[in-house]
């Protein structure tokens, strides 16, 4: 049985009233959803709240899930919407959210050469700062594509847009990052 088939079976079992199936789904996805929420919200208690609310929504609304998208995409869509609502409630703007969590600050880029390591850490730091400065849609597209390995079709479903629009968000984000890096390098050279 493939992982997807296994998930589909769990969804069906839960719809038929098997509570243990929900637990299984929860355990399979709790860490990825926590990771997604942390990358968007950059705060443990906020991420904790969003994870719980996301799975509450899943529990209460799984009967409305018709399987037109994958369960994973549906779950990510709920999680992203929960993050947005959470930010809205806190009167924050996603563009001001710091992706750079303490863990990311402590990030150790795998390298044996000390100088290379420093350059790598700086580069990662800068990259995180630049991603932070992207628009909400572009940033979410980057997070879903890079950190969660979602296909553009899945990103489109999660963002409620077409596949080509999702691809445009991602493409624009890369171009923008490229431009930002160019400016950054020019600034350093001056």
């Amino acid at each position: 049985m493939t992982p997807n088939e296994n998930i589909n079976n769990l969804v069906l079992e839960f719809k038929e009233g098997n509570e243990k199936a929900f637990n299984e789904l929860f355990l399979q996805f709790q860490k990825p959803i926590y990771g997604l929420a942390m990358r968007i919200l950059a705060n443990h208690s906020d991420a904790d709240e969003v994870v719980q609310k996301t799975f509450m929504q899943v529990y209460l609304n799984l009967n409305t899930f018709r399987g037109e998208s994958s369960f994973k995409t549906w779950l990510y869509k709920i999680a992203i919407n929960q993050c947005k609502d959470h930010l809205k409630n806190k009167e924050q703007q996603i563009s001001k959210i710091d992706l750079e969590t303490p863990a990311m600050k402590k990030l150790k880029v795998q390298s044996s050469h000390p100088l290379k390591k420093i350059i790598g850490e700086q580069h990662t730091q800068i990259l995180l700062e630049k991603i932070n400065a992207l628009s909400q849609q572009q940033k979410t597209a980057i997070i879903l594509r890079v950190f969660d390995d979602l296909a553009f079709k899945e990103i489109a479903e999660a963002l409620d847009c077409t596949e080509s629009t999702a691809k445009v968000h991602y493409h624009q984000a890369i171009l923008k990052l490229k431009g930002m890096f160019k400016d950054h390098t020019r600034g350093e050279l001056r």
Partner: protein
């Protein structure tokens, strides 16, 4: 191959290169930078998020389940059962009372989904026995598959039943 084509290709096939892409990359600094950025993003993937520890994840399911319990639609349930206490609903009382007694005895042990099914069956029975004007919308579209109802739909049925009940009370 132009830059836009090369970028689009790299976005879709970051780890694979065709001859055409390689040729373009060798002669285009801009696309080389584009590819370098995609590589950097892949490196970023290795960056872990702050690990809250296993203790956090080991209690997360339990805490979420407690919140789900707290958020079960009690008011809807209460509203539904309150329909049976009205005298003008006597025409459905016989079956209704039996169903309610059975349901009340068991309902707390049921999952939310099973509970919805019970509410659905109760509503279905009431509408079936009820000769009053429950709206066409309810009869046509909802009776078909009561078990697929979400909260909003269930809410609608209950509202219809309440309206019917009110009309019946007024007539009496």
């Amino acid at each position: 191959m132009n830059c836009h084509e090369c970028e689009s290709f790299l976005i879709d096939n970051h780890t694979h290169n065709t001859e055409g892409t390689l040729e373009h990359l060798n002669s285009c600094t801009s696309c080389q930078e584009f590819k370098k950025l995609l590589d950097s993003l892949q490196e970023l993937k290795k960056a872990p998020v702050e690990d809250p520890g296993e203790a956090y994840f080991s209690t997360l399911l339990q805490r979420t389940r407690s919140r789900i319990e707290e958020n079960q639609p009690q008011p809807l349930l209460k509203r539904f059962f309150s329909l049976f206490s009205v005298p003008t609903f006597a025409f459905s009382a016989a079956l209704g009372v039996i169903l309610v007694v059975l349901a009340v005895n068991q309902i707390e042990d049921l999952s939310l989904f099973q509970q919805k099914n019970v509410y659905g069956s109760l509503a279905k029975e009431l509408i079936r026995m009820d000769s009053h004007d429950v709206s066409d919308h309810s009869e046509d579209s909802i009776l078909d598959d009561m078990n697929d109802l979400d909260d909003a739909q269930l809410e609608e049925i209950i509202q219809n039943l309440e309206e019917t009940m009110l009309e019946a009370t007024e007539r009496t």
